[in-house]
């Protein structure tokens, strides 16, 4: 208990502040996509792109929807995703938590923030997989082309009808990953620092003896 109520040293506080620095600007202004989908077909040699941000979807949404209607997929629309109305705010909140934890150095605050952030990330990934599952499974039975239900690739490559599809995380996700990883790194840094201090003390003690 006393460990949790204690404070981090400046090194760890610096790392946590860095996480805040990464989180805050990215998600105040959602400019970095968190996920990409790239589709190619013989008649689309230049490819079609979907760029998913924390608050919207950009890219060739209309073109993809027009193609998808043949197989009865729901149209992809930004307004369908309630996630877009809370994702930027939540990420900002995690940034503020990291900022506070970094400034105060309170271990418990950092831990709570990191655990909540981890939970959020797991939840959002599951949510994303569910969305993909729904798009590929809830097909309009009146569609002109009847497809077997499918799940578009979450990450990696898949071939679907005449399209090749690549799916991969965007810069936003990489930055989120860095921010998340700074949690364990801070703990490791602290443990390493403590061990060195202990060793230093032992050496000093031995010298005194």
């Amino acid at each position: 208990m006393s460990y949790l109520s204690g404070k981090f040293r400046p090194t760890e506080r610096g790392l946590i502040l860095f996480a805040a620095v990464v989180l805050l600007p990215v998600f105040f202004l959602p400019v970095f996509p968190i996920w990409h989908m790239h589709l190619r077909a013989p008649q689309y040699p230049e490819g079609l792109n979907l760029h998913i941000y924390t608050n919207t979807i950009r890219g060739d949404v209309d073109k993809i929807n027009t193609l998808n209607h043949y197989v009865g997929m729901h149209a992809i629309t930004a307004t369908d995703f309630k996630e877009f109305s809370y994702m930027p705010q939540l990420l900002t909140l995690f940034g503020v938590l990291a900022l506070l934890a970094g400034l105060t150095g309170r271990r418990w605050l950092a831990l709570v923030g990191w655990l909540a952030f981890t939970g959020f990330a797991v939840y959002m990934f599951r949510d994303y997989v569910l969305w993909l599952y729904r798009y590929g499974h809830d097909l309009n039975p009146r569609a002109a082309i009847k497809l077997q239900v499918f799940t578009p690739p979450v990450i990696g490559f898949a071939k679907m009808a005449n399209f090749k599809v690549w799916s991969y995380p965007g810069l936003g996700t990489w930055l989120l990953g860095i921010a998340w990883a700074l949690g364990p790194i801070a703990l490791l840094a602290e443990r390493y620092g403590r061990r060195r201090a202990a060793a230093g003390a032992a050496v000093t003690g031995a010298a005194k003896a």
Binding site: D62, K63, N65, T66, Y70, A75, T77, A144, I145
Partner: protein, 636 residues
């Protein structure tokens, strides 16, 4: 043993080097054919370095080619209806054609900034109806047809834009009375007049409007070019028939040793009009050089000239007397000095004439039947020789000698070098635009195609690269580096504010006012909304279709059975077409431009009921249809 292996190695080495050398020669095209083939070969998937715009002559349109592959890429309808895209059939283009269904398109002219092509617009004349069209190179569509220009009779010397596209011009080839009225042809010299018109081009929009007209002697005004550099502000026009014959021109108009070219100071002419010195004739401000001096001068040219071409530096004006064997080169500095010193030989109907010897710089013995000259970036001129069926390459400047000649097939009219009429020709290619093809291609009967040859200018000698047929009848052309053009591929739907546009299925409807019916509809893969339309016999139906697509190359067509009504609607575009419900019964309509996997299903029915059948004032698709279309359009 050792020596043997060394010898063997040497033999192998020599053989390998020999093979390599042979390979080298082969790959560089040791034979002329191989080399030429490589120079015009554009690999599948790759693109040409130049756009070439060839006038369609009495086909009334423009052919677009890629160079150096000489592939015909598209045809831009300009003065003539085009059934596939519905040009001249939809209401907007029909209004632009102004009731004409034919034009004779001669001289394409690209817009310029500082004397070089800027890739904004392409102008072209319709000679017989004295019209000028502007094509926007953002979408390769005809945007304005200006004219018939009042008082102009056969706009042949047209449009030949000025170096900053301030003006395009038109001049009468067949003089008529001005104003045209009840006169005797025998009173030609007394009553007939030529007209030179300066047509202003709005620098932002490209919109043309009449700036000024100048009353000229009734000669046959033929070709034109704009001054540049030191001759900026002047426009030159050749003429034949200074004899003023009105019949048997073949003989009577070929008698004088000298005809003329006119130098027109367009700034002075515009100033005179702005100062109110013009007389209004048929709505045009016409200047009479007998009363307003300092706007036009005549310079003698031997033997019925055709081309008048200003060299890239703007110092020289090169005229080709088609019945002699020389290009007469004039120095603009000498012309200007003679004008400033008022050294005139006489006048023709108020236009002062200068002395031939005062203005001439050189005579270049190019060959028989010189017609038209273009330029490269190394100080050479290239003149087409109609009678010799050749192109002559000559030095612009002392010693003014002919350096090379090449045969073309056959009877070349104009020629066109890459950016060859600008201040900075690229010097890569020249295209011979021949009047006869005769035996050059597979025989297709008595209506022969025209012929064209692509010729390489990059070596010390001209080299024939490719020979290709064209449909009737390119007169002149323009070639611009492909990198200067950036056309759009779809019309942005968000910017579409055309009358009749709708963007949501809820707005799709059929509105009736008396017997006028307006259909506001959507086309998108693969529906018409609405696709069942109820009208009565005798209704005047206006279909306003908006293509909601924003994907490249997904155009839809709208064609009505047993009618001449068809048009193509490009992605993001709204077009209106009018059809009279002429007969009771069912009339299918369909998408006439293959669009997608379910193109065959893209159809609809017009239900034509007898006159007077009660019909709703507004018909809308049912809620289920709207919901279905909206599900598809949700993202828009």
């Amino acid at each position: 043993m050792k020596r043997g292996s060394k010898l063997g190695f040497a033999v192998v080495l020599v053989a390998t080097l020999g093979a390599l050398a042979a390979g080298c020669v082969a790959s560089q095209g040791g034979g002329a054919a191989g080399s030429a083939a490589q120079k015009v070969y554009v690999k599948p998937g790759e693109k040409d370095a130049y756009y070439a715009f060839l006038s369609g002559g009495h086909h009334g349109n423009i052919y677009v080619y890629g160079m150096p592959s000489c592939r015909h890429i598209t045809t831009i309808p300009v003065f003539t209806p085009e059934p596939a895209v519905g040009y001249g059939n939809d209401e907007e283009s029909k209004a632009m054609l102004g009731g004409f269904t034919w034009g004779d398109a001669h001289h394409p002219g690209l817009s310029e900034t500082d004397g070089d092509y800027d890739g904004r617009w392409l102008f072209i004349n319709d000679m017989p109806n004295a019209r000028i069209a502007r094509i926007d190179l953002k979408d390769f569509k005809t945007k304005q047809i200006f004219g018939p220009i009042p008082n102009i009779s056969a706009a042949h010397a047209c449009p030949f834009p000025t170096p900053n596209t301030e003006y395009v011009f038109a001049a009468s080839r067949f003089s008529v009375p001005v104003p045209n009225r009840d006169v005797k042809v025998e009173d030609y010299a007394k009553d007939f007049r030529g007209i030179v018109a300066g047509v202003k081009v709005d620098p932002k929009t490209g919109t043309m409007s009449l700036g000024f007209e100048i009353m000229m002697p009734p000669f046959d005004w033929d070709l034109s070019d704009a001054g540049k550099g030191p001759s900026l502000g002047w426009q030159f026009f050749t003429c034949y028939n200074s004899e003023m014959a009105y019949d048997s021109l073949e003989i009577k108009a070929s008698q004088n040793e000298m005809d003329y070219f006119a130098a027109v100071d367009w700034r002075a002419a515009q100033k005179a009009v702005d100062e109110g010195k013009a007389t209004m004739i048929n709505g045009a401000p016409v200047l009479d050089p007998a009363k307003v001096t300092g706007i036009a001068y005549l310079i003698p040219v031997p033997k019925s000239p055709h081309g008048v071409d200003v060299d890239p530096s703007g110092q020289y004006v090169c005229c080709s007397g088609k019945l002699q064997a020389e290009v007469s080169v004039y120095s603009f500095a000498k012309i200007k000095a003679a004008i400033d010193a008022a050294k005139f030989e006489g006048e023709k109907m108020g236009v002062p004439t200068l002395k031939f010897e005062d203005c001439l710089e050189a005579k270049v013995p190019v060959g028989l039947g010189p017609l038209h000259t273009q330029f490269d970036n190394k100080g050479n001129g290239y003149t087409s020789l109609f009678l010799d069926s050749q192109i002559a390459k000559w030095k612009v400047g002392p010693p003014w000698n002919v350096e090379d000649k090449i045969d073309v097939y056959y009877s070349i009219g104009h020629l066109m070098a890459s950016e060859g009429d600008t201040r900075h020709p690229t010097g890569d290619y020249v295209v011979a635009l021949d009047k006869l093809s005769k035996d050059r291609y597979l025989n297709v009967g008595p209506t022969h195609p025209e012929a064209a040859q692509l010729i390489d200018l990059r070596g010390p000698k001209m080299e024939l690269l490719y020979d290709f047929p064209t449909y009737l009848e390119p007169h002149y052309a323009q070639m611009i580096k492909a990198e200067k053009l950036h056309p759009i591929t779809v019309y942005p739907l968000a910017e579409n504010d055309k009358p009749g546009v709708i963007k949501r299925a809820e707005d799709a409807r059929v509105e009736r006012k008396g017997n006028r019916v307006d259909v506001y509809g959507l086309v998108v893969r693969t529906h018409f909304t609405p696709d069942v339309i109820k009208v009565n016999e005798g209704d005047e139906v206006y279909f306003h279709w908006t293509n909601l697509e924003q994907d490249d190359d997904i155009a839809h067509g709208f064609g009505i059975l047993w009618s001449s009504k068809n048009m193509q609607i490009e992605p993001g575009e709204t077009k209106t077409i009018h059809w009279t419900a002429d007969k009771t019964g069912i009339r299918p309509f369909y998408c006439s431009n293959f669009c997608s996997a379910l193109h065959q299903e893209m159809q609809g029915y017009l239900e034509v009921r007898p006159r007077g059948t009660p019909q709703a004032a507004v018909q809308r698709p049912d809620a289920k249809t709207i919901a279905e279309i909206n599900a598809l359009l949700a993202a828009r």
